[in-house]
C-alpha cells in the first residue's frame, strides 16, 4: 500500500470511504421485527401444505394459496404489509406450533391479531379454549363470550379467522350438530382436520340427525356435549342421550363444568 501523505486531510478522505450500504436483508429484518412486514414459509397440515406468516408480534396468517404470489397478494390486501418467503419457520416457533397442533395448549404462541375487532378477538380466543378432538356449537361460543344472541356474528368472525388451525375455528360446529362451513377450503377440509384430531365427523352428524344434542351418565347424573372428553368416558351401558338441556335438567342431571353444555342450550333452543 502506498501512502503518499500522512496528513489529516488524507486520513479524513480515507475514513470517508468507509461508509457502506446496509446488507439487503437488514431493512426487511427490522420491519419484520417491529411488525411492519412479515416473513412466511410452508407448513404441513392434514389438508396439505399451507403458508404461515409471522413477524415480531406473533403469527399473523395461515392461508391456503395456490402459490407464493397468490399468498403475497392476499396477505397484502388483508394486512397492508409485504410478506417475504423464507425456507423455514424459526425453530422455536416451529416447535411451539407442532406442540400446539398435536393438542398441547400450554405451548405458547404469540398471535398478531391487529386489524380485527374486539368481538372477533373474543370469538377467536374462546375457540382457542376448545380442546383437540372436541367441538362446540356456534351458540356455545356466543353464550360464553357474553353475547348469546350473536350466533350469526360468531359464525362470521370464525369465517374471518386469519390463523386457522392454530386458532381452531374448525372445532366450532353448527348448533344442530352438523359440521358447518369452513374458511380454509370448505367443509370437506373441516371434516379432514377434525378426523385428523381423532373425531369421527360421520358419527357426530349421525347423532345430530337423530336429534341428540347431549349425553349424560346415569351414574354421575352429569350431562355433556357429545364430544366432551368426560362424555367419551361414559360406557355404553350408562350413556343416556338427551335432545335438549331442558330434558336433561328435568331428568335430574346437572351440566358438566368443563364443557358447560347449558351455554349452548340458551340459543340452541
Amino acid at each position: 500500500m502506498n501512502r503518499p501523505a500522512l496528513d489529516f486531510d488524507a486520513i479524513e478522505a480515507a475514513l470517508a470511504t468507509l461508509a457502506e450500504p446496509a446488507p439487503p436483508s437488514l431493512a426487511h429484518g427490522a420491519l419484520v421485527a417491529v411488525g411492519l412486514a412479515d416473513d412466511y414459509a410452508l407448513i404441513e397440515s392434514p389438508v396439505g401444505p399451507l403458508r404461515l406468516a409471522w413477524n415480531g408480534r406473533g403469527v399473523s396468517a395461515i392461508e391456503s394459496a395456490a402459490d407464493d404470489h397468490a399468498f403475497e397478494v392476499k396477505f397484502l390486501a388483508r394486512t397492508g404489509r409485504r410478506a417475504k418467503r423464507r425456507d423455514a419457520i424459526p425453530a422455536g416457533l416451529a416447535r411451539a406450533i407442532e406442540r400446539r397442533l398435536s393438542g398441547d395448549r400450554r405451548a405458547r404462541i404469540e398471535l398478531d391479531l391487529r386489524g380485527s375487532s374486539e368481538f372477533e378477538q373474543a370469538v377467536w380466543l374462546k375457540a382457542l379454549e376448545i380442546p383437540r378432538g372436541e367441538v362446540r356449537p356456534y351458540g356455545w361460543v356466543a353464550a360464553e363470550i357474553g353475547r348469546p344472541k350473536a350466533v350469526r356474528a360468531v359464525g362470521t368472525a370464525l369465517g374471518h379467522n386469519p390463523i386457522p388451525l392454530i386458532v381452531p375455528c374448525h372445532r366450532v360446529v353448527r348448533s344442530d350438530g352438523t359440521i358447518g362451513q369452513y374458511s380454509l377450503g370448505g367443509p370437506g377440509n373441516k371434516r379432514t382436520i377434525l378426523a385428523a384430531e381423532g373425531l369421527d365427523p360421520d358419527e357426530l352428524e349421525g347423532l345430530a340427525r337423530a336429534g341428540i344434542r347431549y349425553v349424560g351418565s346415569d351414574t354421575t347424573r352429569i350431562y355433556c356435549l357429545p364430544t366432551c372428553h368426560n362424555a367419551k368416558r361414559i360406557t355404553p351401558a350408562h350413556r343416556v342421550p338427551f335432545r335438549s338441556a331442558g330434558a336433561s335438567e328435568a331428568a335430574g342431571y346437572r351440566a358438566c363444568r368443563e364443557c358447560r353444555p347449558s351455554a349452548a342450550a340458551v340459543v340452541a333452543a
Partner: protein
C-alpha cells in the same frame, strides 16, 4: 447535508402523525448510515447488522411511547446515532463478560500489518479498531457518518470542544500508527 436535515424534519413530522405508515421511510433513509457506524465501531459485519437492526427496533419502540409533539422535535440523525452506539457498546460489554480476556501486550509485533493488506478499506477499518472506544465513536461519527460537531455533541452528550479534541487525538493516533507501520516496513526491506 441541508437536504438531509430538511428531509429528516419532514420525516419526523410524518412519523409524528403516522408512525407505522412512515417508519419504513426512516429505515430506508437511515439503515445504511447506522450500519456504517456500527460496522466501523464494532468491526464485524454480522454483529454490525444485528446491532443496526436492534437499534431500529429500539427506535421504533421509543417512538411508540412518545407523543406527537415530542416526535416532531426529534433530530433523527443524532438521535439514531446515539441509539446505535448504545447498542454497540452494550453488545461489546456483554461479549467482554462472556469471553476470556486476552492479555494485551503493547510490545508484541502485530500479526498482520493492517495497512499493508490488499484491501485498503479493510486496512483502515482494522486501524480504526485500535482506537479507544470514545475516540473511535467520535472519529466514526465525524468522518465516516459526517455529523457536524453540534450534532455529535447531541449524539454523544459531550461538549463540542471535548469532541474536537477527541477527533484530533484519534486522527493523530491513526497517523502515528501509519508512520510506525511504514517505518517497520522500511526496516524489514533494508534488513
Amino acid at each position: 447535508m441541508d437536504d438531509a436535515l430538511h428531509s429528516d424534519e419532514a420525516l419526523a413530522a410524518r412519523l409524528a402523525v403516522d408512525l407505522d405508515g412512515s417508519f419504513e421511510a426512516l429505515v430506508d433513509a437511515h439503515a445504511g448510515r447506522l450500519f456504517s457506524i456500527a460496522l466501523r465501531f464494532i468491526g464485524d459485519r454480522s454483529d454490525a447488522e444485528e446491532a443496526t437492526q436492534d437499534a431500529l427496533v429500539r427506535a421504533y419502540h421509543a417512538l411508540t411511547g412518545y407523543d406527537e409533539a415530542r416526535i416532531r422535535e426529534i433530530r433523527l440523525r443524532p438521535w439514531l446515532a446515539t441509539i446505535v452506539l448504545n447498542v454497540c457498546r452494550n453488545r461489546a460489554r456483554v461479549r467482554r463478560v462472556a469471553t476470556v480476556e486476552l492479555a494485551f501486550d503493547p510490545s508484541a509485533e502485530p500479526v498482520v500489518d493492517p495497512v499493508a493488506r490488499s484491501d485498503e478499506k479493510a486496512g483502515w477499518a482494522l486501524l480504526l479498531a485500535t482506537l479507544p472506544p470514545a475516540q473511535r465513536a467520535a472519529v466514526v461519527l465525524r468522518h465516516v457518518d459526517g455529523l457536524s460537531y453540534a450534532q455529535m455533541a447531541e449524539a454523544l452528550g459531550r461538549p463540542e470542544g471535548t469532541l474536537k479534541a477527541q477527533v484530533h487525538r484519534g486522527l493523530a493516533a491513526l497517523r502515528d500508527a501509519l508512520v510506525a507501520a511504514d517505518r517497520r516496513e522500511r526496516e524489514e526491506m533494508t534488513a
